[in-house]
Amino acid sequence: MLDNLTQRFGRVVKNLRGQARLTEANVTDMLREVRMALLEADVALPVIKDFIAKVKEKSIGQEVIGSLTPGQALVGVVQRELTELMGGASVGLNLATQPPAIILMAGLQGAGKTTTTAKLGKWLKERQKKKVLAVSCDVYRPAAIEQLKTVSAQAGIDFFPSTPDQKPADIAAAAIDYAKRHFYDVLFIDTAGRLAIDTAMMNEIRALHAQVKPIETLFIVDAMLGQDAVNTAKIFAETLPLTGIILTKLDGDARGGAALSVRHVTGKPIKFAGVGEKLDGLEEFHPERMASRILGMGDILSLVEDAQRNVDQDKAQAFAKKMKSGKGFDLNDFKEQIGQMKKMGGMAGLLDKLPAQLSQAAQQAGSTVNDKSMNRLEGIINSMTPTERTKPEIIKATRKRRIATGAGVSVQEVNRLLNQFEQTQKMMKQFSKGGMQKMMRGMKGMLPGMR
């Protein structure tokens, strides 16, 4: 995703340098780029229109401070607005009521309601020492009740049994009664997924809500949703007095514009984010992180996490040690790096996660670096002798020719590899004090607005 906001602005504002304030004239083109970036991120078009109007209003007349370009100044406004729209500090669940505090889960099919029920239950039990009960009113989807039973056990919360031949209203009534008599602090009511236009099913959940009077009515939303998220959210919000939103599947690579759409349409806070299938895959929601993600400014944090998850820690440590011991970075290490890179999702995956400036720089540094060329690079190194790999400086014309023939490439390609190696070696010297992760963190510090 090189096509993102900062880079786009770069294009637009080239001839705007030196202008002292944001004006109607210099902002219009940039706002068009904002629109495109938000569209690519799946923010719904009507929401984009409102957002752009607001940004325009706030930005025009603003002074461009110090060394900033008008583009950078506008990115600042956009990100601030987006973060604000996304909500302030994360708010937890409201349980301030006569127990049991009832929490109703609602959303489309496959959104993550059942999984999130167990995640939240586990959260409340472990962090707030609550006594938690869960019940399923999903009498439609095959084995939905069984699923909640299993995940409740995994979460260490209690499960109130129900069967598909019961009515949701009866199930809920029995569960509330049981929860009261057994002094539960919290009762989760899981429901079947439903389409917003399925009026019969929407009436069902409206009636269920009226009956159980939950203190929290949570709308569970898949972060991958497209333009239709606004319609769905609108109807759910009209049918139910929602109290909060939970975004799921943020561990994926969707830009997550639905977060903005749903937040905008419902006006309700996003309370948590689902970041994995396992029951500890739940996090508090971070508005600025989400804003950066939607704008395509690179999800540095997830990049760091990826690095931690996929890079072989032992090898990374051995490597760090070697660097410290003063023994230089050689072609074996270079090959190792290529391998690690592949593990992290290849160059494409890596570049996707980098913010514009960096991925651009990365592309320029090795304009031919892509996954195929990584394999070729490996091939070239493989046809070198061990001595050549540890002492690349001995590789002169004859050796180059032999290596090229061995790897089935041209001599130029061998030269190119050696050049890339040298560049990397230089970079490594600069970063030799820390490992990969430190380097990532360093990159993070280079970015405005990133924490």
Binding site: L39, Q109, G112, Q227, A254, K343
Partner: protein, 345 residues
């Protein structure tokens, strides 16, 4: 209306959502009057047009304007974008339209509509390739997709579809991860009256291996292998599913004979990434687009057609066992472009 809430009634309630809908267009009234005759196409159209009515200028209205101007083209752009067509495909379609306008061959907005329909059809036509399951026995179909896309439900529907064509079908419970995934598939097996091969083990490849052996022994025509939902960012899970594929090849060098990627029509531009990523790890040969009974329009197919085309074998139009249809480009395009007026006509 509340009789729909009874469990037995629900599939039929879903197969005629218009009956319960308070929407106002003439089309909805028509289909409510003849619920039994409601085809998926009408349902699709109804669903497709509802959003548009709420959101943007309906295409029907656009095309009935009598002048082709910038504003009209801009509205068209809006319509395509809100259908999840994506920037690239939308731009392409608009450029095609603009050049047609420039050539001055168009006199009325309704001609413009025809051009748009033609271009969309041309773009999507290569995706209409029905699935032929006769070349191998057992014909092994692997089903993959992100979490909650509709894989297991689609398998339940596909089993019915193939059985109604006289084929024998066997299911493999390859989702060994998600809670009660096996039980869910078993219920679909019962509904279809067919065997489900499952194991206590946590190894999906072993289950699928078992199922293919069983299918050979029982002279079964088609094996449908369920897999756990996974996001392409979970590289170890992408490797796991690649292994399932390799194991299938080990038992039958010609297999798997179809690798179906299930896409939820509600998903936005990430669907394109999903196609690319799954294709890289398991060589996707076909798509199933689910949940088209909702208001999401599935315009992302246009983006997929441009960036990573794959045959769309089936579409899902509900949660019931019969809510599956082969993909038809002309019907899809017509439904996508029909505003409420056109749908009623």
């Amino acid at each position: 209306m509340f009789s729909f809430l009874k469990k037995k009634d629900r599939p039929s309630a879903l197969s005629m959502p218009d009956a319960a809908d308070t929407a106002t267009s003439a089309h909805d009234a028509t289909s409510a009057a003849t619920p039994a005759a409601t085809s998926w196409r009408d349902r699709l159209k109804a669903g497709l047009s509802r959003t548009r009515a709420a959101l943007t200028t309906p295409l029907g209205e656009l095309f009935s304007r009598n002048r082709i101007d910038e504003a009209l083209l801009e509205d068209l752009e809006t319509t395509l974008l809100t259908a999840d067509c994506g920037i690239d495909a939308t731009q392409w379609l608009l450029d095609e339209l603009k050049s047609a306008v420039k050539k001055n061959t168009l006199e009325s907005p309704s001609q413009l509509r025809q051009v748009l329909a033609d271009r969309l059809t041309t773009l999507l036509a290569p995706l209409e390739q029905p699935l032929d399951v006769t070349a191998h026995k057992p014909f092994v179909i692997m089903i993959a997709g992100v979490n909650g896309a509709g894989k297991t439900t689609s398998i339940g529907k596909l089993a019915k579809y193939f059985q109604s064509q006289g084929k024998s079908v066997l299911l493999a419970a390859g989702d060994t991860f998600r809670a009660a995934a096996r039980e869910q598939l078993k219920i679909w097996g019962e509904r279809n009256g067919i065997a489900v091969i499952a194991q206590e083990s946590g190894d999906p490849a072993a289950v699928v291996f078992d199922a293919i052996s069983a299918a050979r022994a029982r002279n079964i025509d088609i094996v449908l292998a369920d897999t756990a939902g996974r996001l392409p960012t979970q590289l170890h899970l992408m490797e796991e599913i690649a292994k399932v594929r390799r194991v299938i090849q080990k038992i039958d060098v010609t297999g798997p004979h179809e690798v179906l990627l299930v896409l939820d029509a509600n998903i936005g531009q990430n669907a394109v990434q999903q196609v690319k990523a799954f294709d890289q790890s398991i060589h996707v040969t076909g798509l199933v687009l689910t949940k088209l009974d909702g208001t999401a329009k599935g315009g992302v197919l246009a983006a997929i057609a441009r960036q990573c085309p794959k045959p769309v074998r089936f579409i899902g139009v509900g949660e019931g066992i019969d809510d599956l249809q082969p993909f038809r480009v002309d019907e899809f395009v017509e439904a996508l472009l029909a505003g409420p007026e056109n749908a009623a006509a």
